[in-house]
Structures are given as structure tokens and as C-alpha cells.
């Protein structure tokens, strides 16, 4: 467990580069033209969507008022709201909450895409090598170009993530056995190999501490100016929504996609790029957060089915809510110390996943 003071609220915290804070992201609306108006999955969808939005808004407000710094609803009511409180809000609390929302939403969508691309429900970027490859990429670029801009480093890490994911897809296409449990196992093995490589290289180059930060999700270091890359993740999730029909068809398999005139290889490539960029973005800014991409899409597809156009927005909102909730819990459990969101999510996510498995959720079908 990581114990750390709330970095963003120490008096020496860096001053913001951008003055304006942003509000919570506008989630994508479901597309109204789709589906039969009276179908149950559609009604479910709208109910879940509004419920999810409401919960997310509540969580966001709670998140704004949880922390070590002197900023609570009481200060708000007592009228002791001064410039310092405002600064705390803008520099630390809002960026941190926004980062959790953005990371959660994009990671959950990345998980859903990964599942559609491999036609298997038990995979996500951090269990097939994508995230690990991104971390390896960060190690490598830090060795060779330590002064590169954060954007350049992120793109370099994304290209590693792309290669790692491609390797996974090639491996599972070559599997003779169609056993649906073999697919996630192959992913775990590949992820393990890439991760050990990253640790070896990092160890040899005295970068273990940095690698630790990339592979352990943690929002306590998030300040204004240090998380904005994550907005790209939201844009990528919007692209996923735009191409949702094609991704859904890709999930049905190559044969059906080709028959319906989809350029299957191209849609897989698009999905790979989106997943890899999201993995790299989160690794660079907050570090790896496990299970979001696994648990959220599974829960949502159980309730609402696999029609991407309907579920992408819900998956994004639920992912945001789950990560935000885990971060709030991490801040409260050992107050005034913190437990990193990665650790909380590891516990919450594995519990949720075990429940899913025990309910007989098949990897396919």
C-alpha cells in the first residue's frame, strides 16, 4: 500500500499553467435513431444511462470535497471560501476528479474494444500486454530521450503498446484450439513476459521508481497541467462510439463482417490504435489501473447486450464512476493518508470479476 500525503495540496505545489478549470466532461448521448423504440434493451439503456450520469455527477461533487486540504462543504457554507480555497479547488481537486473520470471512461471503452477485437469477454488492455508494452515503451524512451516532451513520450509508448497488442492478436489468431479460456491465458502470459522485460530494462538503467509510477495507478500527483493528455482519451472514446456499429460487427467475427461489406482488417487496425493510445495515455499520466476495462464492459453487456452504439456511452460513464468511486474510497480509508486507486481497483475489480465468473458468464456468446 502506498502512503502519501496529498501532493496537490501541499503549499509548495506547482502553480497551474492553465488558469481555467474545466467542468465534468459531457458524456456522449445515445443515438436516438437506432433500434426499435419500444425494445426492452433500449429502455434499459436509457434508464441506465440517466442513472449512471446522475451517480457520476454526485460522485464528482463528493470527490471535490474529499481531501486533506481545508476544503469541505462546511467551509463553503461558513463563507470562509477565500482565494486559497479557490486555488486548491482549481489546481488540485477539479483536475484530480476530472482525471479519474477521463481515465475511467477511456479505459472502460478500451476494454470493450479489446473484447470486441478478440471476440472474447475476458480480456482487457492490461491483461494482454498492451499496458505493459506501453510501460516498456516509457522505460525505453526515458533511457534514450529523457528530455523528450510528454506528448512525444506518450506517442512512443503508444507505438510499443500497438506492437504488443498486435503480437497478442497474431498469437490468438494462430491458436488452433478455439478454447475461449486459452485466449485470456495467452494474454496473461504475454503480458507477464513484457512486464518482466520492462522491469529488467528499468532495473539495469536505474528506472525502477519511474516504472513503479507508470504501473501503479495513482491520482494523488495529479495537478492542473499534468493530466490534460487524458482529454485525448475522451476523444478516442467518441471515435469508438462513431464506429460502434463496425466494432459490434467485428465482435461477431471476421466472416460476418466481411459478408456485410466491412473492411474488417481496417476496423481492427482502428481499434488497435485507439486501445493502444488510451493505454499509453493513462500509463503516462496516472499509471496502470487494472480491471476497469474488464469488469465494466462485462457488467454493461450482461445488462444491455453487445450493441456498441447503445453501450459505448454507458460503458464510458460506468467506467468513470467506478474509477472515481475507487479513488474516493482510497482517499477515505486511511485518512489523512491515501491508498492508490490501482490498489483499491485491484481489490474491488477482482471481487466483481469473481462474482461475474461465479454467475457463469461465458467468455463468448
Amino acid at each position: 500500500m502506498v502512503e502519501r500525503h496529498h501532493a496537490g495540496e501541499s503549499p509548495t505545489a506547482a502553480l497551474p499553467r492553465e488558469p481555467a478549470a474545466r467542468a465534468a466532461p459531457e458524456p456522449d448521448r445515445p443515438v436516438a435513431r437506432d433500434g426499435h423504440p419500444g425494445s426492452p434493451s433500449r429502455r434499459n439503456g436509457q434508464k441506465l444511462l440517466s442513472l449512471g450520469l446522475l451517480t457520476l455527477a454526485v460522485l464528482f461533487v463528493i470527490s471535490l470535497f474529499v481531501g486533506v486540504g481545508d476544503l469541505s462543504v462546511r467551509t463553503l457554507l461558513a463563507g470562509t471560501w477565500d482565494a486559497e480555497t479557490m486555488r486548491l479547488m482549481l489546481v488540485s481537486r477539479i483536475p484530480r476528479s476530472a482525471a479519474a473520470v477521463l481515465a475511467g471512461a477511456s479505459l472502460a471503452v478500451a476494454g470493450l474494444l479489446m473484447q470486441m477485437l478478440s471476440s472474447n469477454r475476458f480480456v482487457e488492455p492490461s491483461t494482454v500486454g498492451t499496458t505493459e508494452a506501453a510501460a516498456l515503451g516509457m522505460v525505453v524512451i526515458t533511457i534514450f530521450a529523457p528530455d523528450a516532451s510528454i506528448l512525444a513520450k506518450m506517442l512512443f509508448a503508444a507505438s510499443f503498446a500497438l506492437l504488443g497488442t498486435l503480437l497478442f492478436l497474431v498469437l490468438i489468431r494462430r491458436l488452433r484450439s478455439k478454447s475461449s479460456l486459452l485466449v485470456p491465458l495467452v494474454g496473461l502470459i504475454l503480458a507477464g513476459i513484457i512486464e518482466s522485460t520492462a522491469y529488467f530494462v528499468a532495473y539495469r538503467n536505474d528506472l525502477l521508481q519511474s516504472l513503479g509510477a507508470w504501473s501503479r495507478g495513482d491520482f494523488s500527483m495529479i495537478l492542473q497541467g499534468r493530466y490534460e493528455l487524458l482529454w485525448i482519451g475522451l476523444a478516442l472514446a467518441a471515435i469508438a462510439l462513431f464506429a460502434a456499429d463496425r466494432f459490434t460487427l467485428a465482435g461477431l467475427g471476421r466472416d460476418i463482417s466481411v459478408t456485410l461489406g466491412i473492411a474488417y482488417e481496417r476496423i481492427v487496425a482502428l481499434g488497435l490504435v485507439i486501445v493502444s493510445l488510451i493505454a499509453a495515455l493513462t500509463v503516462v499520466t496516472v499509471g496502470e489501473i487494472p480491471f476497469v476495462g474488464l469488469v465494466v464492459p462485462n457488467l454493461v453487456t450482461m445488462a444491455m447486450g453487445d450493441n456498441g452504439r447503445r453501450i459505448v456511452p454507458v460503458v464510458a460513464i460506468c467506467g468513470a464512476g467506478l474509477v472515481l468511486a475507487c479513488d474516493i474510497i482510497g482517499r477515505l480509508v486511511r485518512f489523512p493518508y491515501e491508498i492508490s486507486v490501482g490498489a483499491i481497483m485491484g481489490v474491488a475489480g477482482s471481487l466483481l470479476f469473481l462474482i461475474l465468473l461465479s454467475r457463469g458468464r461465458p467468455a463468448r456468446g
Binding site: R33, D34, G35, H36, S39, P40, S41, Q115, M116, S119, N120, R121, D245, T248, L249, G251, L252, G253, R254, D255, I256, V258, T259, L260, G261, I262, A263, T301, M302, G305, D306, N307, R309, P362, R364, G365
Partner: protein, 252 residues
């Protein structure tokens, strides 16, 4: 119009499909029969551009399948394979709606909704329209996929063992449906069948394959004879006309 000229598929040195040629120009039901491993599915897959072609060529309405854009071909030919829907927690109505993808690109028009309802009705699926595929019986699921193919509304329809998972009643209904699709809608239907008697009862033409080659191609009466079937399947059989229906039985 489907034209295949000397289509060949190699797996290593094995010629899984060996210079198979056929032309299907007019509406009708054509059944492909043959023992397991004869290359029936592989032949269909090559014609429908699901598998790369190692020799020869396949044309749909004169368009080479290896060179024509996928979305153009999708308006002309559809194929349903045996295994479908790895991630298929979709409602039947949604799935059938995806059959309209080549025409609508996802923006369903009133015409698309009509075609979806038609396909649902055609396959007796209205009571299950909003049920998830993974909560249906094997037969209902199979019919939903066939309905998707019908909704795609292409002139040429290839079906790889569509009677799998269907009981006798639904198998007969499915074959009657193929018949209606050919007779009423002018479709060119090609079905891979394991049961020769279904082929006899509903097909206009039968193509028999063995060891990757097309060995016989002709009308039912010509293909289904004791000599031919015994040669193709390597099994002694009896062929009789029962109340005017050509029937093939294995000898116990």
C-alpha cells in the same frame, strides 16, 4: 450471377478445392453435397471472398471478388457460415438490422425497418424479436442469422449447412423458405446440405463434391442415383422414388 472458374485452395500440399468450376445464372436452389472434407464450405467461402483464392477466379455479376470493394459485393452476395456470433448478445431485431448495413451503413431508413420486419415474419421470429440471441434456443438463433442474411437482400445467397441445430419441422420450414426465396424473390440460393433427401426434395440442381473436385453437377434425377451416391460417399445406398419423391437411404 455466380461464376467460378477453376477455383483452387491449397493447404500446404493438400488441394482442398481442386479446380472447381460452376456457373449459377438463374434463380433457383442449388444444393452442394459430399462427404466431410470434400471442400464444400471452402468453395463457398472462396466465392464469398471469406478465404483467399489460390488459383482460378470467382466473379459475382461479372465482378472479380478479389478486386471489388467489399461494400459493393455486400449488396450482391451474402454468406452464412456454420459458426456465428462469437460476441452475440444482440437482440434478434438488432442482428437482422445489421443485415441492412450494406444498404444503410447504420442509418436505418423506413425501408430498412420494413425489411427487418419482413425477415422477422418470414422466419417466424416475431415473438422473439427483442430477445437476446444468447438466450434463445439453437434453432431460433440459427433462424435469426438466416433472417439477417435475408434482410441483406442480395441476389445470391450462400448458406453453409443452414439446417444444423434445426428439428425436422424447422428444417422443412427453412428449405421451403429457400424455395420461396428462389421462386418468389428470384434469389440464387446455394446451400451446403448433409441430408441428401432435403436436397432431393427442395433443390433444382445438385452439385456433388469429393476430394476437392466437383464430380457431378446436374438436376436431382441425374445426380441422385445409386451409382453416383455410392461413388461420392463410398457407401452402399438405395435410391427409390417414394410417392414421386426421390429418396436415398443407406443400407444397414
Amino acid at each position: 450471377m455466380i461464376e467460378a472458374a477453376a477455383l483452387t485452395k491449397l493447404y500446404g500440399k493438400a488441394r482442398v478445392v481442386d479446380e472447381a468450376s460452376l456457373t449459377l445464372a438463374s434463380p433457383g436452389v442449388t444444393a452442394i453435397i459430399g462427404p466431410n472434407g470434400a471442400g464444400k464450405s471452402t468453395l463457398l467461402s472462396m466465392i464469398a471472398r471469406l478465404l483467399p483464392i489460390d488459383g482460378g477466379r470467382a466473379l459475382i455479376d461479372g465482378l472479380d471478388v478479389t478486386r471489388t470493394r467489399g461494400d459493393e459485393l455486400a449488396k450482391r452476395i451474402s454468406i452464412l457460415k456454420q459458426e456465428n456470433g462469437l460476441m452475440a448478445r444482440l437482440t434478434a431485431r438488432d442482428l437482422i438490422g445489421f443485415g441492412r448495413f450494406p444498404h444503410s451503413k447504420g442509418r436505418l431508413t423506413p425501408t430498412d425497418y420494413e425489411k427487418i420486419e419482413e425477415a422477422l415474419t418470414f422466419l417466424d421470429l416475431l415473438p422473439f424479436a427483442d430477445r437476446f440471441l444468447d438466450e434463445m434456443s439453437g434453432g431460433q438463433r440459427q433462424r435469426a442469422f438466416v433472417a439477417m442474411v435475408l434482410a441483406q437482400d442480395t441476389r445470391a445467397i450462400l448458406l453453409d449447412e443452414p439446417l444444423n441445430n434445426l428439428d425436422m419441422r424447422h428444417a422443412v420450414a427453412m428449405m421451403r423458405l429457400m424455395r420461396r426465396a428462389a421462386d418468389e424473390l428470384g434469389k440464387i440460393v446455394v446451400v451446403v446440405l448433409h441430408d441428401i433427401n432435403f436436397a432431393c426434395a427442395y433443390a433444382d440442381r445438385i452439385i456433388a463434391m469429393q476430394g476437392g473436385r466437383i464430380v457431378v453437377d446436374g438436376p436431382v434425377e441425374e445426380v441422385v442415383s445409386e451409382e453416383t451416391i455410392e461413388a461420392v460417399f463410398g457407401l452402399p445406398v438405395m435410391v427409390r422414388d417414394v410417392e414421386g419423391q426421390r429418396t436415398c437411404l443407406f443400407r444397414a
